[in-house]
């Protein structure tokens, strides 16, 4: 892998606390000296956060699709009727 990708892998290992103590301390010393490296670390952490949000959004879309199917398809009518009984006092 090219150098930049190896660095991403190293930062990932650091973020996920997989680095041996010696490598971790060495990298932390580099962060103090190299602001760009520090910025790349922050950006990479932001990426993981965005991936998590993206995944959650996709799962939510799927759950909404299934719910929509249940409440609109005639094949699930009896199930929906049963559910609606629990809310019979709803206006």
């Amino acid at each position: 892998m090219r150098t930049s990708l190896n660095e991403i892998r190293l930062l990932e290992d650091y973020i996920q606390q997989r680095l041996p103590t010696e490598d971790k301390l060495l990298l932390e010393a580099k962060f103090i000296l190299d602001e760009d490296l520090q910025e790349r670390l922050s950006l990479q952490m932001r990426c993981y956060q965005l991936i998590q949000l993206y995944g959650r959004e996709k799962t939510r879309e799927q759950l909404q699709r299934v719910e929509q199917e249940i409440f609109s398809q005639p094949v699930h009518r009896r199930f929906v009727q049963k559910i609606k009984q629990y809310f019979r006092y709803e206006i």
């Binding site: 892998m1 930049s4 990708l5 991403i8 892998r9 990932e12 910025e39 790349r40 950006l43 990479q44 932001r46 990426c47 993981y48 965005l50 991936i51 998590q52 949000l53 993206y54 995944g55 959650r56 959004e57 996709k58 799962t59 939510r60 799927q62 759950l63 909404q64 699709r65 299934v66 719910e67 199917e69 249940i70 199930f79 049963k82 559910i83 609606k84 629990y86 809310f87 709803e90």
Partner: protein, 180 residues
């Protein structure tokens, strides 16, 4: 039989499995919320959040909860319902047995950058999601995305991460300006 436990690979839950979960657990949740004056829409919202939490728990390897699927999802739903109405918490404390995580609210900045990412790097986002969110292993990832080997998939994963990172950096100023 436990629905998600039947999935051999930690892949996305199928629509069919999802439907089974609705049929299996939603009636109890609806009944619980209906009895406490909640509406059908509220019950649907609570149940969706509970399924999302359950799905993420399964993906993160909490296998023990698979054994009590129905009870677990119902427990989360109950907890979420009580959390919605804090007054009820005072009357009916549930304790911390369910340890339901607070879901982070999506910010305007998140939504904007996500929108841009979907337009320019959707495939990379799909690949990264499969690894970091769905927690597919490299072999399954290679298979799903048509890579010749686990090594190619690993390299591509880091390339995608680099692409997204550079994209976020490049557009950081732009979306930060937009939300000011």
């Amino acid at each position: 039989m436990e629905v998600l436990a039947q999935i051999s690979e930690p892949e996305l839950i199928s629509d069919a499995a999802c439907l089974q979960l609705y049929k299996k657990v939603f009636p109890s949740v609806a009944q619980y919320i209906g009895k406490r004056g909640g509406t059908l829409e509220e019950a649907k919202d609570v149940f969706q959040d509970a399924l999302l939490i359950y799905y993420e728990r399964i993906q993160s390897g909490s296998t023990s909860i698979r054994d009590t699927e129905k009870g677990y999802i119902f427990g989360i739903s109950k907890h979420l319902w009580i959390r919605r109405f804090k007054q009820q918490v005072m009357m009916e404390p549930l304790g911390d047995q369910w340890d339901v995580p607070e879901t982070k609210e999506e910010t305007t900045a998140d939504r904007l950058i996500m929108q841009m990412l979907k337009q320019t790097g959707e495939r990379c986002m799909q690949l990264l999601k499969s690894f970091y969110y769905d927690r597919l292993d490299m072999l399954a990832l290679a298979k799903r995305f048509g890579f010749a080997s686990e090594r190619s998939a690993t390299v591509q994963k880091f390339k995608c991460l680099e692409k997204i990172r550079d994209f976020v950096k490049k557009n950081k100023l732009q979306y930060e300006d937009l939300i000011k």
